[in-house]
């Protein structure tokens, strides 16, 4: 394999337990998003558009759909002769499978993969977030600052700062302190979980961390503090733009609704930064004479005979006559019957919603409804 300047390692093994039934048989990065995509499409497209063509994707939880979805990476232009995308599941060495116990151990266990390319820099990413970013620019910043590690940070609202890993920096953007979910944050620069390391430096740290039995082998909790402790040059790379963690039902719904907001900073229609995805084969959408579509996004293969308002409708969805869908996300191949009412809900893939069903948030709670098979069965019986 040829030497590469920078290899990306995409952590896609997470369970996403706060997405409940959506992640029962599906890893979080494979969750449908934005009418056409899966969450991981954003990170993979960012790699491809940034010119980073060698990407290791570390899967673990319920990897079947994700692994076959990624395939050899053709959809993101990552099917290359030298490099390209490689799926890296946990494997057994001599006697037993060594599961990834933490984000850092996952990288540690895949040193052989990285050694093939003998990179100068390693870019650590997660497949959990919705954002567009040019990693090449971050790499240039890292190189110019002659840093050992760069951490991408974004300004968050002060009232939210306690939910994030907060970076305290000096005026040169050197990180002098790192606080995980601080009660009284000193700063509002939150870590985005995007790191660039000099591979040599990272390798040593991972070895050291591996020997530490008390470590949780996590980048944020263990590796970064170690870096700071050892007085390595760690800098913060300020990111401006849309960035959203879609780890809860509420945030997943909000991020989808953001796409319908004219003022949103997330532009998926930018031909200079396309978001690639695996394209299923469908004819164009058909909007019938009985339909009424307003302020919504609809994908191919849909047959719409009802009312859509402020909603995101994925491929292959059918919506029956007399049905009203408001402020909802309808995932791929869902079949919505006639005279159904759906408001502020996420309807999962492949589900059939029977005629006349009403789905809306409980009064006084106003929480997004995550529709499940159980709900449907209850209604039928």
């Amino acid at each position: 394999m040829g030497k590469k300047q920078c290899v990306a390692m995409l952590l896609a093994g997470g369970k996403g337990s706060r997405l409940y039934s959506l992640t029962k048989s599906l890893a979080k990065p494979a969750i449908p998003f934005g009418g056409k995509y899966r969450i991981i499409d954003f990170t993979l497209s960012n790699c491809s558009n940034s010119g980073i063509e060698t990407v290791g994707v570390l899967t673990q939880y319920q990897p079947l759909v994700l692994n076959s979805y990624i395939g050899i990476g053709s959809a993101w232009d990552l099917d290359r002769v030298n490099g390209g995308v490689t799926v890296l599941p946990p494997y057994s060495e001599s006697s037993e499978v060594k599961w990834y116990t933490g984000t850092a151990s996952a990288i540690y266990q895949n040193q052989n993969y990285l050694s093939q390319y003998d990179p100068e820099y390693v870019l650590i990413l997660s497949g959990d977030h919705i954002y567009k970013m040019n990693y090449e620019e971050m790499l240039e910043y890292h190189i110019n600052k002659q840093a050992d590690a760069s951490i991408s940070v974004i300004q968050v609202g002060w009232e939210e700062a306690s939910r994030f890993g907060i970076m305290n920096t000096n005026k040169d953007m050197d990180i002098i302190e790192f606080e995980e979910k601080p009660q009284h944050p000193k700063n509002n620069l939150a870590s985005m979980g995007i790191y660039i390391f000099k591979w040599k430096v990272l390798k040593e740290l991972l070895e050291e961390d591996n020997l530490n039995k008390n470590s949780s082998h996590d980048f944020g909790k263990d590796i970064i503090p170690l870096l700071i402790e050892q007085k390595k040059k760690v800098v913060a790379y300020p990111f401006k733009g849309y960035w959203k963690d879609v780890g809860t039902v509420q945030s997943l719904w909000e991020a989808n609704m953001d796409l319908l907001d004219d003022n949103s900073e997330l532009n998926i229609s930018d031909y200079n930064w396309r978001i690639y995805t695996v394209n299923p084969n469908h004819p164009p959408q058909y909007i019938s004479s009985d339909a009424h579509v307003r302020e919504s996004m609809v994908n191919e293969g849909c047959i719409i005979s009802g009312d859509l308002e402020k909603s995101i409708v994925f491929q292959g969805v059918t919506v029956g006559k007399g049905t009203i869908i408001r402020s909802s996300v309808i995932m791929p191949d869902a079949k919505i019957g006639n005279d159904v009412y759906i408001e502020k809900a996420i309807v999962p893939s492949d589900i059939t919603i029977p005629d006349g069903m009403v789905i809306k948030p409980e009064k006084d709670l106003d929480e997004v409804v995550l529709v499940t098979e159980e709900m449907v069965n209850e209604m039928i019986s």
Partner: protein, 342 residues
Amino acid sequence: MKRSMLGIIDATTHLEDLEELTAHRTLAALPIGGRYRLIDFVLSNMVNSGIGSVAIFPKYQYRSLMDHLGSGKNWDLDRKRDGLFFFPASISDSNTNGIGSFNHFAANIDYFHRSKQEYALVANCFTVFNMNFNPVLERHLASGCDITEVTNNGNSLEVYLIKKSKLINLIDSRDATGYTCMKDVVLDINNQLKICEYEYNGYAEKIDSISSYYRVSKDILKSNVWNQLFIKERPIFTKVKDEPPTRYTSTGEVKNSMIANGCFIEGDINNSIISRAVKVGKGSSLKNCIIMQKCTIGENCQLDSVILDKDVIVESGTVMIGTANSPFVVRKGTVQGALMNS
């Protein structure tokens, strides 16, 4: 042993009646159905019928056809063995009046000799249909025919099934027999061959004029036609484009229309087919239109029975009215202004 077919698509057809739409591109590459090109139907049918070796024989203006097909990957024909072949004709070849020019085949006879398949399905490029060709092969074998011609409502669909060795004979003996193409053979009552017909009674329409293009496009909006053309188990494949889902705004109503991805709709659309990346401005009204990819229609425009080729810009306030029998056709890449009348 399973009998095998190879697919031949004659993409040489060039018709004066479609001049405005085929000035820049060969008929096989004519955009249709919002996201397809005309050849996608017969090509997908072949692939869905298990045919793994398909040779395309184009002649005129085939650049966009070549660009569309690429290596054949989107039709699952990017193979190590067999796959998609592309055999352009030399311009000096005279036109034949039927599908399957023997001169054209002769110039590429190696493909026939090297192919391991026993039977050849020779088809035109301009029929809109979704058909499984395996029953045709079964009938052909059972009846012992030399050539099976597929018909629809009694008319020839210009799709022929013939044993490959027999086809090679016909190609080699063309000077002696005077047959220039498959149609010549079938029409000659003295042809010494057993010609049978296979009647396909599903939807199958040829595009050979602006009016048939317009009529067939409107047909696709009908659910009984749609259900015959877009079948989950036998999808129509086409080149993949990474367009975001279509965005509908608070203005504009869309009724009885087929809309491809990447569009931004602010106006009213009725009984129309809109291809990808089309923008329709506020206050505009489109009725009975076929709008090809990347057109931009400004605000307060009125279009009725109009066909816009790719990349057309319609300035705000423009009115264009055609009729069902004679739709108003606008050439690729032009700008239509409110004050222009052509």
